[in-house]
Structures are given as structure tokens and as C-alpha cells.
């Protein structure tokens, strides 16, 4: 089969994918946090997008098999996962509206390359390449570390969104229970780039102009410092174009220096690296061009740009892992954050490729015989971690019960 047809996503291909390859059981165990169906699964909302943009909400299922049956019947282009409600979503019309509220939900994040359009120079809108993926890699590093070290989360699943972004699902008990208010607060603390496109300086995180960076951002500063040269100067060459270096000079708080550099750089072909070195050199003699200014520039160019709306509300829906992106044919596979720099979106298996592998493997084969295997294994491994913790918590709770007696 030619490579072209590997990327083509027809209803027939999707149906075969759901029937033969989609890891429904793994998905069930992950959401349910155990093997015996609980409310975490049975009162969970599923939403389906069918061909022709038909959108069906508030479905719910008693088991992985029931979910699979419905998926095969609808053959959706994709499906999304919502919160666990106080009643089964499919019965929501039979209960009082006040008795149907979202209760538990993974804390989720969405990072999309389009939010980087103002700074990336290699691609725009829907496109993505290994060079701009480095922005996503930096974002993953920063968020993964911050969420672990500051908020204490442990069960975090990163999932490639199939095209130009990445999702994060956090399944810790503490994360599931967060109220919308707490989600908003957490997202606010992770939101550093602010102000519309008419605001030049988008990083305003200090308590006063002279104060040090809040400690909440020290970890990010360290991670991003290591990446700034490679990513912004070498790889993206952000200050090569006049538009690019003008944007930089607008952040330079010393008017004299900015003017000097404007004269030097206008019409020149100086590389971003040399421009940056020259700026650092001039800054040594400046009172207003402090290290704080450079920290803010660092953050403005490299700090993660998250889509805050997705994370703020318990009832926001997010595409399920292992769905297929309809435009690229690529499967939304889990990604190991410690190997995020090696990850190349172009190498993610497509649905066509997987079906071909399955075909070649012969009668009775399943995903184990395809290049989907390492990704499902990673997913199951992750779920195992969650289940161990659930088991420990249960043992602890029952031990306490005994003491209470």
C-alpha cells in the first residue's frame, strides 16, 4: 500500500480500527481505576462526533463491551470524555436537574501549537514540524515538573492530540475532586503569558517591578533557560526578521540601548544568536536592563501557552486517547514525558499503517502485533500505577475503620 492511502481516513477504515484495534478495555480500566465497573465509569459522560458534524452528548455505559458496541454502531470520527456525574448521564432526563451535577473529573490540559503562531517562524496554523514541536516539548517539561513538585500530582498521562498539540490527563484522587474554583486557581498560577495581541509585554508576574520572580516560576526558569538558546535563537531564529527583532526591542527597557541596536540591526543580516549576545553585552552597562528583564523575555518566548478554558471546568469534554485525527490519520497515542524530546509527531502510527500491519500479521491478530503495542503498554503501565494507589488508599481506609471501632 502506498503511503498516501495510509493517511486516508474513510468510514470503513475507522470501523475496522474500532473493531480490531482500539484498546477499549485499557480505556475502561484507566477511567474506572479498577476492574469492576464503578460510578467512575458508569456515570461518566461520553460524547460522539459523527460524520457531518453531528454531535451526540450525554451517553454513558455499564462496561467496556457496551461502549465498544455503541462505538461500532455510531462509527464516530472521534469521541470525547467528560466528568463523572451524580447520576448516569443517559438517565439525566429522569432526575431533577439539581441532582445531575458533575462530581469527579481528571484535571486536564490542552496545549496547541496555534497559540505559538506569534513566535514560531517555521510553520503556521495547522502545520507542525520537529522544529516547532520543541515548543511543546519545553511546555511538557515545565508542566510535568511543576504539577509534580508543586501540586504533588503523580498520575499524569500525556497524549499526543493527533496533529499539532498535546493533552494531559491527571488521575490522582486529589485531582479528580478539585472544584471549578480550585481548577481556575491552579490554571491561573500556570498562566504566565497574558494580554491581547496589542500588549507587547505579555509577562507581568512580579509583585512589584523590582521583586524577584515568584518562587512558583523558579523551576520553569531553570528548565527554559537550558532551552532558550537552542529553541529560540538557533532553531527558530526568532530575531532574524525585522518584525522579530522589533518585538524583542519593545521588551528592552533601556531606550538608549534599544535605539543603538535598532540602528545596528536595521537592514543587517546578523543572526539571532549574535543579536542576543550583543544585547547581553550592552546590558552589562545598563541600570534598567536587569536580569529581571531577561527573565521576563525568557518566559515570554518559551513559557507554556495553555488553553485555559479546557482546564477550568469539570464538565469540559476532551478527546479520548487512541482516537484518530481525521485529517492526519494519526492515532492519539500516549507519550512518555521523559522522552518528549525524542518524540516526532510524523512518526506516530497512522490508522492505515496499523491496519496494514494487522493484515500482514494474519488471521486473529490484534493490536499486540502492530506498532500500536508500545503505546498501549505505556497506557496500561500508567493505569497500573493508579490502581496500586487506589488499592493502598482502600487498605488504609479500612485500617482506620478498624481503629475507629
Amino acid at each position: 500500500m502506498a503511503l498516501d492511502s495510509d493517511n486516508e481516513v474513510t468510514p470503513e477504515v475507522m470501523l475496522a480500527f474500532y473493531r480490531l484495534l482500539y484498546p477499549f478495555h485499557s480505556l475502561f480500566t484507566w477511567l474506572n481505576q479498577g476492574q469492576i465497573p464503578t460510578k467512575l465509569f458508569t456515570q461518566r459522560e461520553f460524547a460522539f462526533t459523527l460524520a457531518g458534524d453531528v454531535y451526540l452528548r450525554y451517553h454513558s455505559f455499564m462496561s467496556a463491551e457496551e461502549l465498544k458496541k455503541q462505538v461500532l454502531a455510531f462509527n464516530p470520527t472521534r469521541f470525547e470524555i467528560g466528568p463523572m456525574y451524580s447520576a448516569r448521564p443517559k438517565d439525566r432526563k429522569t432526575v431533577r436537574p439539581s441532582a445531575f451535577t458533575p462530581l469527579l473529573r481528571e484535571l486536564v490540559f490542552d496545549i496547541d501549537m496555534t497559540d505559538y503562531d506569534a513566535i514560531r517562524t517555521c510553520c503556521s496554523s495547522a502545520d507542525i514540524c520537529a522544529r516547532c514541536w520543541a515548543f511543546i516539548a519545553a511546555a511538557v517539561r515545565v508542566l510535568d515538573t511543576t504539577l509534580r513538585e508543586q501540586f504533588g500530582f503523580r498520575h499524569m498521562l500525556w497524549v499526543y492530540s493527533g496533529r499539532r498539540g498535546i493533552h494531559l490527563w491527571i488521575s490522582d484522587a486529589d485531582a479528580l475532586e478539585l472544584t471549578d474554583e480550585q481548577r481556575r486557581a491552579l490554571v491561573a498560577s500556570l498562566t504566565v503569558i497574558e494580554g491581547g495581541k496589542d500588549m507587547h509585554k505579555k509577562v507581568n508576574v512580579r509583585f512589584t517591578k523590582q521583586s524577584p520572580l515568584p518562587p512558583a516560576l523558579w523551576g520553569a526558569r531553570e528548565t527554559l533557560n537550558d532551552r532558550f538558546g537552542e529553541l529560540i535563537l538557533r532553531n527558530q531564529d526568532c530575531f532574524a526578521s525585522q518584525e522579530g527583532w522589533e518585538a524583542l526591542l519593545r521588551l528592552v527597557s533601556d531606550g538608549g540601548i534599544a535605539e543603538t541596536l535598532r540602528e545596528e540591526w536595521t537592514g543587517s543580516k546578523i543572526s539571532s544568536i549574535d543579536k542576543w549576545l550583543r544585547l547581553r553585552e550592552l546590558a552589562k552597562g545598563s541600570k534598567s536592563l536587569t536580569s529581571a528583564v531577561f527573565e521576563d523575555i525568557l518566559l515570554q518566548y518559551t513559557y507554556p501557552r495553555i488553553d485555559a478554558e479546557v482546564s477550568k471546568h469539570r464538565n469540559h469534554l476532551l478527546k479520548a486517547p487512541f482516537c484518530v485525527h481525521p485529517k492526519t490519520g494519526r492515532v492519539c497515542v500516549p507519550v512518555d514525558p521523559s522522552r518528549i524530546d525524542e518524540f516526532d509527531p510524523v512518526k506516530v502510527p497512522t490508522v492505515g499503517q496499523l491496519l496494514r500491519e494487522l493484515n500482514e500479521a494474519g488471521e486473529g491478530a490484534d493490536w499486540q502485533k502492530t506498532s500500536l503495542k508500545p503505546y498501549v503498554d505505556l497506557f496500561d503501565q500508567h493505569t497500573k500505577g493508579i490502581m496500586n494507589e487506589v488499592r493502598l488508599a482502600k487498605m488504609k481506609a479500612s485500617a482506620n475503620d478498624v481503629q475507629d471501632w
Binding site: G196, S211, P215
Partner: protein, 494 residues
Amino acid sequence: MYKGGQQPTIKGAQPKKEADVVVLQGPYPYRLSFYDRPPLYDVTIEDFETFALDRLRILAEIEASYARNRSWDELRTVTEAQCKKYDLWLSSNTARSQFIDLERKKDHLSHFVLRLAFCRSEELRRRFVKAETTLFRVRYEKDDTKELTQFLSSQDFGWEKVDPPEKATYESELRALLPNVGDKEFKDIVFYKVKWTRVPDLVAKRRVFLRRGQAFVPTTLQASIVFHAFETQLEKALERTAKGLPRLDEDTRIVPILNNLSQGFLAGVPSEWTNATPTMDGELRAEMVDGLAKKHFPMCMRNLHESLMRDHHLKHFGRLQYGLFLKVLGLSIEEAVAFWRKSFSSITDDKFNKEYKYNIRHSYGLEGKRANYPAKSCQQILLSDQPGPSDCHGCPYRHFAPDNLQTSLLTYYSNQGLTSSNLPEIMKTVKEGHYHVACTRVFEITHTSKGVEKGQGIGSGESVTHPNQYAARSRELEKPQEGGTSSDTAMVVG
């Protein structure tokens, strides 16, 4: 529960006590209260109502302060005055006032009566909690330090002191939280550890040091923990009350009072600019929007309009902010669809119908929940849905860089009389954070030719608090004066 007799007893779910016995012993040791015990004594129906009404006036004033975007200092001053007027400021123990118990009883009782009135819908609960938490905070900030310490130690907030070795381990992080604190002072500052979820507001502002889910909170910010505890306890208590409330229906005297109280709360607040949709002269057509924008729109809407004309597109929140504004301005659903279709000129009909038409109809309440969404007020525009890096919505006075703001002001308003000599005054106000004042000033300047003077605002000195109010007043000023000579207005009547 309130059957028989002249004097109803308020007890929540508590067992009935003898009619004339005050159960609480030394009932009010502190000025502040978490209202964790319901009143267990008899009250007259008059006290029941008047106490509650007095408290309600204070809460309504607090809501009004938020609606008017008053600064915290202004709000505090207004609330304190209001409390004193209605004997609800509460004297401190040291004041040795003979009225201490009386005031505190009034405070206690009125709080619980209003709980009954406001527990009945989520909207009312939310507003009540916000106003009550604010009242608590205003009193807290003016409390006697010693009494405050005593009060705090009487409550369990689940905080744990950070011991000296741990404080030393994270010294540089903790010091960065308090940049203005000297070495000696820092030594004396105690830090408390609480779960981060107990101090969401401090987390949001990065005012605490976080480690593995624990927030390190300096004494100076301890109040945040207290306010949050007050808020969440009250929320939970109201939900419990709501569940227990149906039993009240038996008492025919109480229910009308409660209804009046909750309606009073709703009415005591400056109404949102709902003015439904009726326009002054009937129909507003899609092609008229551009002309109106150039003459009557406040900067936020003008900027959205110009961006839309330039880019033939607006992102989600921009569409929402501008779309709802146009709806209230009087654009019918048919005209709205026409307007947006024409404006989004670079996309296909198919894409428009699929991706945008539904949302337009939705905002008119014709799809989905079929809610009649009001246009966003200045407060909502200023505070919610902060614009991202490539967004055009928001309040330009707040969200634009100073140089862009000045350029845009001149571009948009110079043909209405705004000149660069007006800029320093406007920019100064912006810098102080009084965005609505800046907007009001621009209104005055651009309507000088209509006889508007400095300080008059949009009429009687009122400030702009809603973009639609700005536009409506601007259009009103353009209409011929009543009793004027315009003959065609007179003709229409016959």
C-alpha cells in the same frame, strides 16, 4: 416549625427549648463569627423581619459596590458606614459597650434569617456567600489584633506551623514571597502549611510557596485561609439549609417575609443593562452597524468592530463580547446572521453555516439551553476571560499596551473631538487602574458637542459600567431634543 403563638422560635433542626430561655451561655465571646451555631432563642416576628432587612441593606450596598467597581478601600468605607447606620458594625470587647450582646444578637439572628431567604436557588446562594464573605472581611480587617488572635485560636483551620529547620531549607523561596521584608523581620514571620486547595486565591496569584501539594502561607496572608474557610463553610451550610427548607412552608407568616427579602436583594442592586432589546426607532439593520460603530461605540466594541472589518474574523470571546452587545443594541437574529456572514467574508457559506451560525443563534437563545444571554458588563469584560496573545476582546483601557492605547484612541475618536492633549489625563487614569473612569472621560470628551461637560459622565455624573449603556446614551444624545423643532418627529404621531 413556626406553628402557633405570637413568637416563633428559630431553631433549624434543633430540639425545641423552653420558650423564654436563652440557651447560649455568654453567647458571643467574639465580635467575629463563623455562624456555626443557629440561634436557639425566641424572637418576635418584628425582630425577625427588621433585623433581616437591616442586614440586607448592608449586603445590597456591598453588591452595588462590586457592580460599580469600587476599590476595596471605597467598599470598606461605604460598608462600615452602612453597618454603623444599622447597628451592625459590632463593638469590640474592649469597648465595654452595654450593647455588645444586643448588637451581636442582631448580627447572629439576621444572618440566619437571610440564610433561610437566600438558600433557595444557586444564584441567590452564590450572591449571598459573596456579600457575606465581604462583610466578614471588612469587619476582620478592622478587628482588634488581640481579639482577632483569640478568635482565630478558637477555630480549627487545619494549618500546621512550619518548623525552623524547614523554614531554613526553603529560605530563599520564602523570602522571594516577601520582597519588602528585611532580615530581622523575616526571622519573626511565621509560616503555616495548608493544603493548597484551601488557599486557591493565593495560589492563583503565586503568593505562596508550593511543595507537593502543601502551600506555605506567611502570617501576613493568613487572612486568606480564614476568608476561604468562611466562604466554604457558608456554602455548605446553605446547601444543608436548602435541603431542610421545605418544612418551613407550613408557616404562612414566615414564607412571605422570606420571599420579600430575597426579592429585595435582587432589586437593591443596580440592574444589569438588560433593557431587553427594543431599540428606539424600530429596526437596526446589518449595514447600519458600521456607521453606528464609528459614532456611538465605546472603545472595546469599536476595537472589536475594526478588527472584524480588518481581519474578516474574530476569535471566540471576541465574537461573544461583540455579538451580545449588538444583540442588546437591537440587532435581530436575521440581521445578526447577515452581519456576521458579511463580515466573515473570507470563509465559505458552508463553513459559516457549520461553525458559526449555530453559535449566533445560540446567543439569541434559539439553540442549546435557550437562555437569554445578557450582554457583558464592564466588570465581566474586565475580569473574566482574559484575552490571550492573539485575542482582540477585553477592555482596551486595561488590556492594551500604553502606546497602542494612545494610538488607537486618536485613530478612533479624533473625528469626534479627542486630541492628543487629552491623552495625558486619560493615560494617568488608566495607570491608576480606573479603566471605567477613563472610558467615561472619553465619552465626555467625544460628546462635548452634544453639550456634555466634564464630570457629567453618561448623565448625572454616572460612570460607564456597561458598553450598551455607553452606546445607548450616545445615541440618545443624538436624537433631537424633545419639544424641539424637528418637524418629522411630530409628523409620525398622527
